[in-house]
């Protein structure tokens, strides 16, 4: 009995210590990325200029089709469900479009785009950096006096920050338009009534930008951290990629909750 309890407590303590160490390492990756941006700005030679553009292309442009397909379909589903529910209660659809747009701008657009990018971009970054780690390319970088964070994470961080905001805007537009088509063809909602932006206020747009930027910053940091922790061979890369998908998806959901709750308090419930 006592040995069982002893073992459980040891295990629990071990997990807590490991979690604390992981959080500290994650924080160090974040801080050194911010420091790396500053270092790159001051540096006049030797910074990988083409790298930023290449990362923007691979994170942004190559995710465009994926974002359009997924957010378009979910926009259709959400409008369909909302109209279906309304048809059973009042049958009055005039508020569907404006309120849906308000919800997209303040929550669903950035969150769903962030979740989709967490799976696609997060897994990609972790797989790439993880395979570099296990094939000792990261050690080679360090040997040649290049900081891996400056060289690998900083360009991905900046690219993801910019591109997540862009893709959020595109995805939200697609989601809203797809919803409008569903409302028109399945429930006969007049497009003039649906496409009405009266409910959106500047604070919603500010919140959308803050959320998108927060998710865009969190995804490469979490994924890069998981990639840098990869150990072993192909199995380690697989584990790192899995951890990156979970970690960055959860970061998106948790940040979304924190930002929404903070906004509710700041605006005094009048969101």
């Amino acid at each position: 009995m006592s040995s069982w309890a002893h073992r459980r407590i040891t295990q629990l303590g071990g997990n807590v210590v490991a979690a604390g160490r992981a959080i500290r390492e994650l924080w160090m990756v974040y801080v050194s990325t911010i420091a790396g941006i500053y270092r790159n700005l001051r540096r006049t030679t030797g910074s990988p200029r083409g790298e930023l553009v290449r990362q923007m292309y691979s994170i942004g442009n190559r995710s465009l089709f994926f974002i359009i397909v997924t957010l378009g379909f979910i926009g259709m589903v959400m409008t369909y469900e909302a109209c279906l529910q309304l048809s059973r209660v009042t049958g009055e659809y005039s508020q569907v479009g404006p309120q849906f747009l308000r919800l997209i701008v303040s929550d669903f657009g950035p969150t769903l785009a962030g979740l989709m990018l967490a799976t696609r971009v997060g897994a990609g970054i972790a797989a790439e950096i993880g395979s570099m780690k296990v094939t000792e390319q990261i050690d080679a970088l360090r040997m040649s006096g290049v900081l891996p964070i400056d060289y690998l994470i900083v360009p991905r961080f900046l690219a993801s920050l910019v591109m997540t905001v862009m893709l959020t805007v595109v995805g939200s537009g697609v989601m809203y338009a797809a919803g409008g088509l569903t409302a028109q063809y399945s429930f006969g909602v007049n497009p003039h009534v649906y496409f009405d932006i009266a409910q959106v206020r500047p604070r919603h747009l500010i919140m959308m930008t803050i959320k998108a930027a927060a998710f865009g910053a969190a995804i490469p940091i979490v994924a890069g951290f998981c990639g840098l922790r990869a150990r072993g061979s192909s199995e380690g890369v697989g584990w790192a990629t899995t951890a990156a998908v979970i970690g960055s998806s959860f970061a998106v959901i948790a940040l979304d909750f924190v930002i929404s709750a903070a906004a509710l308090f700041v605006t005094g419930g009048d969101l």
């Binding site: 990629t241 899995t242 959860f250």
Partner: protein, 263 residues
């Protein structure tokens, strides 16, 4: 002018290549689904492998699913807060939050997290086995890898995603109530009656049967990318990436078609 023509040719070629790649993947997934169904006909399933996978995929995913569902439920209450405050209709808070959670947000978010944790992990495991030639080893021993490795995983994922969705839905409703109580001053009993009056059993079942389809899609796509991987550690990373992307797309597509056809 010649330059422009080249750019156009390249663009068309790029689209064609992408289309061929997608068709190749979809076709491979369909073939694997067929093989899985074929292997089910005399249902001889390796029981140890099945129970190992059920435990690993289900029990160990409970913490992440519970956390996600709690936040998701809370978020839905936060988003319905402006209406509730404006109309002063606290009895409707549970309608919006509960309806969204049970029918859409709950199953989708849980399936996405499940795909990240279990699907990606499964791809990584199978891919590692493939690149270290363990699958060829099985074939050399006249053991069918689909029957021995893929079928138990597919069954385990479908069963466990349904179970996790059932748990997650309850946790999400609890999360909605906690946020309503602590941030919007909606009492527990108001929230409970609001759920009980506005939600029908069918809303709950709608989410649950969607999760059966999501589980199948995640399982088959993650196994497909695991067994078809090529080339070392880099290949494994790429396979996991492709598997989670395919799972996310198929979750959204299935969600749309299931909602549209069954309401």
């Amino acid at each position: 002018m010649a330059n422009n023509e080249w750019a156009l040719t390249r663009a068309v070629a790029g689209i064609g290549t992408a289309a061929m790649k997608i068709s190749d993947e979809v076709g491979g997934i369909v073939v694997l689904t067929g093989q899985v169904l074929r292997a089910l006909v005399p249902p001889r399933i390796d029981r140890r492998e099945l129970f190992k996978n059920l435990h690993k995929m289900g029990n160990k995913s409970v913490p992440i699913v519970v956390l996600t569902a709690f936040f998701a439920g809370g978020l839905m209450t936060l988003q319905s807060a402006p209406f509730v405050k404006k109309l002063n209709a606290t009895s409707l808070a549970g309608w919006g939050a509960g309806y969204a959670v049970l029918r859409e947000i709950g199953p989708i978010l849980i399936a996405l997290m499940f795909s990240g944790r279990v699907g990606a992990n499964n791809t990584a495991e199978l891919a590692t086995m493939t690149v270290t030639e363990q699958l060829d080893g099985l074939r050399a021993l006249a053991i069918d890898p689909v029957r021995f490795l893929v079928v138990p995983r597919v069954i385990a994922m479908i069963v466990m995603l349904v179970a996790l969705t059932v748990i997650g839905d309850q946790v999400a409703l609890l999360g909605a109530s906690v946020v309503g109580r602590s941030m919007l001053d909606i009492s527990w009993s108001t929230m409970f009656h609001s759920f009980a009056d506005n939600l029908k059993p069918y809303d709950f079942l709608h989410g649950v049967y969607k999760s059966i389809a999501f589980g199948g899609a995640i399982a088959v796509s993650s196994c497909y990318f695991g067994v078809t991987v090529k080339g070392g550690a880099v290949g494994v990373g790429r396979a996991v990436n492709a598997a989670v992307v395919a799972a996310a797309v198929s979750i959204m597509l299935l969600d749309f078609f299931l909602t549209y056809t069954t309401g």
